[in-house]
Amino acid sequence: MAAAAAGSGTPREEEGSSGEAAAPQPQAPTSAPGARLSRLPLARVKALVKADPDVTLAGQEAIFILARAAELFVETIAKDAYCCAQQGKRKTLQRRDLDNAIEAVDEFAFLEGTLD
């Protein structure tokens, strides 16, 4: 990394590669920091999948989609819970908002009794 502004200590220059970031990077450049395909670590998702005794194998794509679905789920339930908090004119989401959302939304029925 080329040291642009001298922040701390002596500015170092990387030898070998010329000034700008011309070093070959194996990763494809992402346009925006939030544009990554999935934020949840696939390894943890894989561990959850493997916890199911009935599951033999899961393909990489399946793990990826599960991770992405879990993210969408978190967004969804957070937004739904927020609606309840808004009604109480609060700006902090509380556990009870979540419980209310779970009771109110049919799709969250599978969560009943699992969060205690």
């Binding site: 998702v45 679905a69 927020y82 902090t92 599978f110």
Partner: protein, 147 residues
Amino acid sequence: MAERPEDLNLPNAVITRIIKEALPDGVNISKEARSAISRAASVFVLYATSCANNFAMKGKRKTLNASDVLSAMEEMEFQRFVAPLKEALEAYRREQRGKKEASEQKKKDKDRKTDSEEQDKSREEDNDEEEERLEEEEPNEEEEVDN
């Protein structure tokens, strides 16, 4: 209490970030709520896995694939996830293809180099190897060495 699958949690930092980005600015979330959402996400994955597995078994397959998970989403009444998941899948496949091609290209280049080098060296190496074995005094004396 024995460890339950629900104890396999997803990283708190990531969960928090997702929640904060989903909510308007200035909205906070209590620790209890955040941890509950994190557990809910784990339960979600477990439930989705189980559903997806049913589809895989119906198809007499032992490996879960992407379409199994998509079918599970519909089964779980999360149809609204299907479209964005399909898009994400396409992007993921493109990325994987790109990575694969890049590494295959590297491998090809490497093989080309080593192939030509190996052909020249192999003859010399056969003679040298025997000499090296004697010099190195390998403990494995069962190897036949032609003198």
